[in-house]
């Protein structure tokens, strides 16, 4: 029950109770009880915010973000009095990718600042600068921010070192944490049993494809004529992705050069490694083994085992069939300058492709984009036996829970000042609120669906989404999150050091500087060195904890 309702009920006089009883009798006769009215008003609010600015009506602007922020202030008002934080100043560190993230937060929090009287200062960072800035602040004891937008992989560095503030119970109630999809519930966001994170995103890589390519009659005829096995259609396994990519080389679709799968090749401050991960999980993540990146008992890297080497070799084999500038295409280029702009027909990315396909002004694939979970593999490598297994259930699927989503964390430095602490948590709760999160999932924001309530198809259709499109998108997300063989990223300190070292060596492999196995061995050697530098025993302990072992 909301506090304002509780206060209202507890302050009622006998006369008002009698009046209320009469009113309830009258309302119950029509079926319009108070609680359903409240639920109705929340549903109305959700429907209203989804009309800002409206799907297909151009990209949202700062005015839209402020409007959404203002309409969703109700939850804040139940816990904070107007002007309660006058004089409080907070610093918020976050990203500015694609002019989203912090730019949205500014808009969302402007009405919150007006209502509470607090002032927020902003530190905006590019994706590639984010990890280093955070690491330096931690290592040099110069944490100069009160609230941070952070991914779960950094929890080892921040929460594990006692730098975050524990979430108060009123925040848990305000943001309705039970609504999170299962994989985002504890232990994600927790450390030693304490909760630190407000989830604002639910990352996984899904499979984005072009429906026009895979329903093209000419391509279907050519596929058959060239003697390929099965019908021309959306590939369900990486083996088929490879085959389709090579098949499309030199062909045309709607007069344009046709391309198959797009591999982001250029490094992205470590984040580029996720894309090799998405190619590898179906080969490397065995249903009987929780580990897939390192051996859990020794932290011995698996990057040079046959599964990962096969994924690396797949990229090498596919590159000649990809666009000519692919070697200099980072994930941002691949997702936004290539796929959304009409180049290529298959791509693994975070959910941003789906939320941008119909709402981003530069997207030309709004009506021709379909989604699925990541492709599987006909066989899967068993690291314990060293054999490739064929599962009785068919291909092995293992969606890559890449980055486990963004969250908002409050830093422990506010704990000494109760007003500042409450203000920081209130601001974080506002942008992590249940209703605002639906809007973020539906429009370009940098965040994808992460609550059970986000998968209500009717809300999306009412907002203007095409039902087939949105069903395909939401299914790809939900089926990834709930997959029993999902590959969960380790929340261990320095994880981006591993990824960055791998990016350097992979760059050499992609340019033909070394073969897949040699390059993978070099990455493994570099990873072992990093593990020893950080502390092997502690890393093993944290790796096991992050896998729930």
């Amino acid at each position: 029950m909301r506090i304002e309702l509780y206060n209202h009920f507890t302050s009622m006089s006998r006369r008002s109770v009698l009046k209320g009883a009469a009113a309830v009798s009258a309302l119950s006769a029509t079926g319009a009880l108070g609680l359903s009215t409240q639920a109705q008003s929340q549903a109305d609010l959700r429907a209203q915010i989804l009309q800002i600015p409206g799907v297909g009506k151009g990209q949202p602007t700062d005015a839209d973000w402020q409007k959404v922020g203002e309409m969703c202030l109700g939850a804040t008002k139940t816990n904070v009095k107007e002007g309660e934080f006058a004089g409080v100043e907070l610093t918020f560190l976050g990203l500015n990718n694609q002019n989203l993230h912090n730019l949205l937060f500014r808009g969302f929090l402007k009405p919150w600042e007006t209502y509470t009287g607090a002032k927020i200062n902003w530190i905006d960072l590019a994706q590639a600068d984010y990890g280093p800035r955070l690491q330096q602040a931690i290592a040099t004891g110069t944490v100069d921010f009160d609230i941070i937008e952070m991914g779960a992989p950094f929890e080892g560095d921040v929460c594990g070192k006692g730098l975050a503030s524990e979430m108060p119970d009123w925040v848990k109630a305000q943001i309705d944490m039970d609504d999170y999809v299962n994989y985002l519930k504890a232990p994600v966001g927790t450390w030693n049993g304490k909760t630190y994170r407000i989830s604002i995103d639910g990352d996984c890589h899904n499979f984005n494809y072009r429906t026009d390519y895979f329903s093209d009659a000419d391509l279907a005829a050519a596929w058959k004529a060239e003697g390929h096995e099965g019908d021309w259609g959306v590939p369900k396994t990486w083996q088929k992705v490879q085959e389709a990519t090579k098949f499309l080389k030199g062909k045309k679709v709607a007069g344009q050069d046709a391309y198959g799968y797009l591999d982001p090749i250029k490094g992205w401050g470590g984040f580029g490694f996720y894309f090799l991960g998405s190619r590898a999980t179906a080969y490397a993540k065995h249903p009987d083994d929780k580990a897939w990146l390192f051996d859990a008992d020794t932290m011995k890297p698996r990057i040079n085992n046959p599964a990962w080497v096969r994924a690396i070799q797949d990229v090498i084999d596919a590159l000649p069939s990809e666009p000519a500038d692919q070697l200099n295409a980072d994930p941002g280029t691949t997702g936004f300058s290539q796929f959304l702009a009409g180049t290529g027909s298959m791509l693994s990315w975070w959910g941003d492709i789906g939320s941008n396909a119909k709402t981003n002004d530069s997207s030309v694939i709004g009506d021709t984009c379909g989604f699925d979970i990541l492709p599987g593999s006909d066989d899967v490598y068993n690291a314990k036996t060293g054999a490739w297994d064929k599962l009785a259930s068919g291909p092995n699927y293992a969606p890559n829970m890449a980055y486990i989503g963004w969250g908002v964390y409050v830093m422990a430095r506010v704990d000494s000042d109760p007003a500042k602490q409450k203000a920081a948590w209130s601001a974080a709760a506002h942008i992590g609120g249940k209703d605002i999160s639906l809007w973020c999932a539906a429009y370009p924001s940098g965040f994808q669906p992460y609550r059970n309530s986000h998968f209500n198809l009717a809300e999306w259709v009412a907002a203007g989404y095409d039902e087939a499109f949105i069903k395909s998108y939401l299914d790809s997300e939900a089926n990834s999150y709930n997959h029993p063989n999902a590959a969960i990223e380790p929340r261990i300190p320095g994880i981006f050091q591993y990824y960055s070292a791998a990016e350097d060596e992979l760059s050499k492999i992609w340019a033909g500087g070394s073969d897949a196995q040699t390059g993978a061995n070099n990455i493994a050697a570099a990873w072992d060195k990093i593990t020893d530098g950080i502390g092997r025993d502690k890393q093993i302990e944290l790796y096991k904890a992050s896998l729930g072992m």
């Binding site: 330096q136 004891g141 090749i265 250029k266 000519a324 200099n328 050091q497 340019a511 990093i530 530098g533």
Partner: protein
């Protein structure tokens, strides 16, 4: 003791008066006390940081305050001990202390860091690891690859110099709209290399919509990808770097050309020298001192090339465009490897010092022979 008549000190500098002994002693005591206090604070904090003592400050900031206070005391002590000469020392002392704090100390502290295993994500504090970082450096293929690339980039300075000389001659000639061209040719030098990276590398040369790519297609290059083949990518970076840097060389050479005595060139003309003879036999040799200065400065700048590479290629494809600075940047920024990254930087500094010293020696020897 006081004296009104001007006297001279031991170093023959006139001073207005002799410094009383009591004042001299007080000054000495002040400097001694301040130095002792600073030494004690540094010692305590060092022991505390090393875990050898339970007493110390939470961070090193108080040591910095102590250093500033010590500087003030030393300045005051100079005046008290040396009178007018001390006053003169005050003009130099702040700059000297500033240089010690921000140049000399960081260089030596960097050397210390270079011999530690400092990783920002490590659970344990940094510790001395002997020659391990240097051994890793010797075996680091990425570092040596970047050094090899630096040789290519430095060789490209020769081409930059040739073009810059041509432009400088042009702008020195009696051409129309000379002032406009002088400003126009200088514009690229005023632009930030980061802006150049985006405007040229990521926009004009963009594979799909970049105007330069479109033009290249018109000329028959089917797949104008400027950053995917090692030598084309390296050449593209060199061209962008040259675009920013040529105006710098050009403006130095232009200043040199304008300072040349016109009589010699006119005399050569009267004697019947052709334009080429006049340039090769007179202008070029006379311009050698300016040329050497311009090229050496440019090489020093070139050895620090990083921004364009980081923004456009991240060192790729496969390290083909990597520079030592961009590799160190990745080692620090992406891998938080402070100890090893600092070793790379210190080693590079030594290489640059040796290289530039040898280059200067070689050039000055040649110049002596020619003149």
């Amino acid at each position: 003791m006081t004296a009104n008549a001007p006297t001279t000190t031991n170093d023959q500098l006139p001073v207005g008066y002799d410094v009383p002994e009591i004042r001299r002693k007080s000054g000495r005591m002040l400097v001694t006390a301040a130095t002792t206090a600073l030494a004690v604070i540094v010692l305590f904090q060092t022991l505390y940081s090393a875990g050898a003592s339970p007493y110390g400050f939470e961070n090193w900031r108080p040591v910095m305050y102590a250093y500033i206070l010590w500087g003030i005391c030393v300045g005051a002590g100079q005046v008290m001990m040396h009178g007018e000469a001390g006053h003169r020392a005050l003009f130099l002392l702040p700059a000297l202390l500033f240089t010690i704090a921000l140049v000399i100390f960081p260089t030596f502290f960097g050397l210390y860091i270079a011999f530690t295993d400092w990783n920002l994500s490590a659970f344990d504090p940094p510790k001395f690891n002997g020659w391990a970082n240097l051994k890793s450096l010797m075996a680091d293929a990425y570092y040596w690859n970047a050094l090899l690339n630096m040789i290519y980039y430095v060789l490209a300075v020769g081409a930059q110099y040739t073009i810059a000389f041509g432009l400088a001659l042009l702008l020195n000639a009696d051409i129309k709209a000379r002032k406009f061209f002088r400003v126009a040719f200088l514009l690229p030098f005023m632009l930030s290399p980061v802006a150049v990276s985006w405007m040229i590398g990521k926009s004009l040369m963009e594979y799909r919509f970049g105007p330069i790519s479109t033009l290249a297609r018109l000329f028959g290059w089917d797949n104008p990808a400027f950053f995917t083949t090692p030598w084309i990518a390296r050449a593209s970076i060199m061209v962008m770097d040259a675009w920013v840097s040529i105006p710098f060389i050009m403006i130095l050479l232009l200043a040199g050309l304008q300072a040349l005595p016109k009589e010699i060139i006119e005399a050569a003309k009267v004697d019947g020298a052709t334009a080429w003879q006049s340039f090769w036999q007179i202008t070029f040799p006379l311009m050698l001192p300016v040329s050497v200065t311009a090229v050496i400065l440019r090489i020093i700048f070139e050895l620090k090339l990083a921004d364009i590479v980081i923004n456009v290629t991240s060192g790729g494809p496969g390290g083909a465009t990597d520079t030592v600075s961009s590799f160190i940047f990745r080692e620090y920024r992406d891998r938080a490897n402070v100890g090893y990254g600092t070793m790379l930087a210190e080693f590079y500094l030594v290489i640059i010092i040796i290289f530039v010293t040898l280059l200067l020696k070689l050039v000055s020897g040649r110049m002596r022979k020619m003149t």
